[in-house]
């Protein structure tokens, strides 16, 4: 057995296991069996004897029990347990490679591993592993085919491998573009875990955002016009109720937004005034829809979206799913609102904070208004001016008197984190600032709420888009002043850490992958087909191009992609045609002649001749000398030798000879069977 074939088998087994490893979903402990691959294949390369059948059998049964145990308790998930089982199988098989069939089993399980991995990850690394795997698998299959015939010639193998690999890649691409998309996964529950985020669920605790301030995981990728000025606040969710420890969203009622066409309209808007943002949202553990405020409309494939009274948008069922949508926001507008008791709620025991708030806002105190917090419903207009001043004063106070830090030591016992921040340590991060401000505003009777989301982002020059990371997570304040929710950010600004350009480049590659491979959807398909149809029709001059407008801005990119695919197909076809002509011209068909000979050998073997790798044509004649078609056979063999080792070329007559011979052998075989 050629060493290359052995190496291929080992590589395929390793690739299969590696593909599972890169998903990060398999447990390292349950995958420990993969270590056994090393001694297994080492022994195999050394040509040592395979392990005794009894040992393999016992281990296999043991594996099965471990699998059951794993599925029920350790992973608690049959899917993951199967992944572990395949790794164990590969490890066991590496000690038990005796027949060609065993190699095929290894290939099959590797393929299974890749399929499982494809369900567990959508990363670019998997795409690369897949292509490598496919080429290796094709090589190995071609090898095993030739091995079955008992011979391997490098020159013989390389061409089919080359051709089949290219064809498979082309076919895969075509299928990828043409096959209908499934909105839902077809293997049970989803196994792609969303990125764990904090603060975008129904509640937020102190430290939730602070703890992720160094995490560079990408959350959003945004394509937008550079038009929007000022800091970009990617609004996520509002939180209203504070119990002294954590903030909660208790607005409850969520309303479905009516979908008109492909658009969820939240309010009328003028196309010229809004900022368009195309947002790619990584899978999160939350169903929040992010966007610049204030969102007027959303275009997405989703069937329904919900909104609550605070304007929090959510796509139910989106959790752990990648999603892509376009948001139209009117950033000059502010949301209108009415004061509600919930926006003035304060927990018990914040007298010190209220006191501080009153101290800060005293200069702007109007005679008519008092700090009576139950007076929120007052419609007194004269207070509005002072409300705004008060809010600014509080924000300014917080900004200038407190230090921003990422390392907050826990508050001493008996003191709430907020009091600790305001009166003792005077150091904190955005949640401290925004919580303090909301409570202080509420203390002076101004309705306020916390907003969590992201601030800013890095512009990626390679892809011309904005990257918003986990570490850009932020919280700020909205205060209801003059019937409008105004945004205040009491947190002092912090200089962001620079990002290396290569990581930006890599991210742009990953974005393309996520957008064009992982996120390839039915709408993209439609766009391609509509575009094609249009090209076709306009090509015949039946319509003017603007008779058919294409809905979707990716048409141009897709047509480029399509042209590339078409070019690849065309080049492949040209290459094959060229080779055919070359062969005809030179008359040299090195593998056609061998293929024919192998076919005849195979047929003869079936009819009972002993056929080993060292059997020559003379060896065949020795055994087949008494056959009724021995002259035909002898002529064929001498022609084969002349073509293969002499200077004759394959001709029609030779191929006819082959057909006739195969027929004769088949006839003889039937007759023998009859006897």
């Amino acid at each position: 057995m050629p060493i290359l074939y052995k190496i291929l088998t080992a590589l395929l087994a390793l690739t299969g296991c590696a593909s599972l490893a890169i998903t990060g979903e398999v447990s390292p402990i349950m995958s420990l069996s993969a270590v056994a691959l090393v001694p297994g294949y080492y022994r195999f390369f050394k040509g040592e004897k395979h392990a005794p059948t009894a040992v393999i059998g016992i281990l296999a049964i043991l594996e099965l029990f471990i699998f059951l145990f794993d599925a029920v308790t350790v992973s608690g998930d049959v899917f993951i347990a199967v992944a572990h089982l395949t790794i164990a199988f590969q490890a066991l098989k590496s000690f038990d490679l005796k027949e060609p069939w065993d190699h095929l089993q290894v290939y099959f399980v590797s393929l299974l591993q890749l399929i499982i991995a494809s369900e567990l990850t959508t990363s670019l690394a998997f795409g690369i592993v897949f292509v490598v795997f496919m080429v290796m698998l094709v090589t190995a299959m071609v090898f095993s085919h030739f091995l079955k015939e008992g011979h391997i010639d490098k020159a013989l193998v390389s061409r089919p491998v080359y051709v089949i690999s290219v064809l498979t890649l082309c076919m895969t691409t075509v299928f990828f573009i043409a096959l209908p998309r499934l909105t839902h996964r077809f293997i049970g529950k989803s196994h792609t875990r969303g990125i764990r985020t904090s603060g975008f669920s129904e509640q937020m605790e102190f430290g939730d955002l602070g703890s992720i301030k160094l995490d560079p995981t990408v959350i959003l990728r945004v394509e937008m016009d550079a038009g929007a000025s000022g800091p970009l606040y990617w609004r996520g969710r509002t939180l209203e109720v504070f119990d002294g420890i954590r903030w909660k969203n208790e607005l409850g009622a969520k309303n479905r937004i009516q979908k008109t066409g492909d658009e969820f309209l939240l309010g009328s808007y003028n196309r010229g005034q809004v900022v368009e943002q195309q947002i790619d949202l990584e899978p999160l553990d939350s169903d929040v829809i992010f966007g610049l405020s204030m969102i007027r409309s959303i275009k997405t494939d989703a069937y329904f979206l919900t909104v609550d009274t605070a304007g929090n948008l959510a796509q139910p069922g989106k959790v752990s799913r990648r999603s892509r949508y376009t948001v139209y926001s009117d950033i000059s507008k502010e949301e209108e609102g009415t004061p509600q008791p919930i926006y003035l709620q304060v927990p018990f025991g914040i007298e010190r904070i209220s006191e501080l708030a009153r101290d800060i806002t005293r200069p702007y105190q109007t005679s008519k208004r008092t700090s009576n917090k139950n007076d929120a419903r007052s419609d007194d207009q004269s207070g509005d001016q002072s409300d705004e001043q008060k809010a600014q004063a509080i924000a300014e106070y917080l900004r200038s008197n407190y230090a921003y830090t990422l390392t907050v030591s826990p508050a001493p016992k008996g003191i709430s984190p907020l009091e600790d921040f305001l009166f003792r340590s005077k150091r904190g991060y955005c949640e401290h600032y925004s919580s303090a401000m909301v409570l202080m505003l509420r203390s002076v009777g101004i309705p306020a709420r916390i907003v969590t989301g992201f601030l800013g982002g890095d512009r990626n020059a390679y892809g011309g888009y904005l990257i918003v990371r986990q570490r850009d997570a932020h919280s700020w304040v909205e205060a209801l002043i003059n019937g409008k929710w105004k945004r205040y950010d009491p947190t002092p600004s912090v200089a962001p850490a620079p990002v290396e350009s290569y990581s930006l480049f890599w991210d742009s590659v990953k974005t393309q992958w996520a957008r064009y491979v992982v996120g390839f959807r039915s709408s993209d398909q439609r766009a391609i087909f509509v575009h094609l149809t249009r090209q076709f029709i306009t090509g015949f001059g039946l319509f003017r191009p603007d008779d058919l407008s294409v809905n979707g801005s990716y048409t141009v990119r897709y047509s480029v992609l399509l042209v590339i695919v078409a070019l690849i197909l065309l080049l492949t076809m040209l290459f094959i045609a060229w080779q055919k002509r070359q062969r005809k011209r030179s008359g040299a068909r090195p593998w056609a002649i061998t293929a024919s000979y192998l076919k005849v050998r195979k047929a003869l073997k079936r009819s009972g001749l002993s056929m080993t790798p060292s059997t020559t044509s003379a060896g065949i004649m020795e055994q087949a000398g008494h056959f009724s078609f021995n002259i035909l056979l002898s002529d064929y063999l001498s022609d084969y030798n002349r073509i293969r080792f002499g200077k004759k070329s394959v001709d029609e007559a030779f191929l006819n000879q082959e057909h006739e011979l195969i027929r004769e052998i088949g006839r003889k075989q039937k007759k023998d069977a009859g006897k």
Partner: protein
Amino acid sequence: MYNTTMATMINQSLRQLQNQMESVLRGKSDTIKMAIVTLLGGGHLLIEDIPGVGKTTLASVLAKSVECSFRRIQFTSDLLPTDIIGVTIYNQDRRDFEFRQGPLFSNIVLADEINRTNPKTQSALLEAMSEKKVSVERNTFVLPEPFMVIATQNPVEYQGTFPLPESQLDRFMMHITIGYPLPEYERQAILRPSSFEIMEDLAPVLSRQDIVRMQDEAGKIAVHDSLVEYLLQIIAATRNHPAVRLGASTRGAQFFLTAARAHAYYEGRDFIIPDDIKMLAPFLLGHRIILKTRRVIAEADLIIRDIVERLPVPL
């Protein structure tokens, strides 16, 4: 240079040669073929067998059937190099020394029982075999073309023999054995007139020039790369075989290829096929390898056969 009619012609004359030789040495077609292939390859032949199975007859009938000079040298322990090469004598008429050619100066030389003579004479013969010329004092004498030594040796008798060293065995292109004839042929052999009587009536089938031309043409036979590879694999396998102490040499590989060409030529082909190589391997390599156990060529043959049965042939 080489076309079908010519191939047929050559084939016919070689077939005729084979038939004529078979008429004397019945039932030994393979052995005879090997002898002819050796002649076509311009090599020397070692026949190892017990006495009385026709070693000498084979050599004689080959010499008889081609129009060549033939000498037979019976090797004995007291034979001297000068006895085979020739001597320098003083010619009184010309008042000068003069070289008188020995029996070696023939086209076909039968060296009977080569292992009975002393190493000194053996090496004189073997040197002449590889150089195809003889140096005496300051003069060099080129041996006639074609030049072929057919040496016989007896594997059973050990008393008073000087076994040929490996380096000298290596100079023989092929070794063959003859073996007992099948019963029917043996019966014929004793009832018919003796082979020497038959040989009296034989006329040469090929001329000296024919042989030289055929040797030349056989040397030009095409060899596919994959077959060179195959041949070298066999050579390499003899070096790695567990039962072999010393494998075949590069000279062995050279002879192998030459013999394969000659065999293809004999079969009327202008290209080599795997069968040429596979079939010749035992005859070419059996006497070139040294086993770890005993020095018996017959046993080495089996090992070579084992090797070629294991190696895949090019397809």
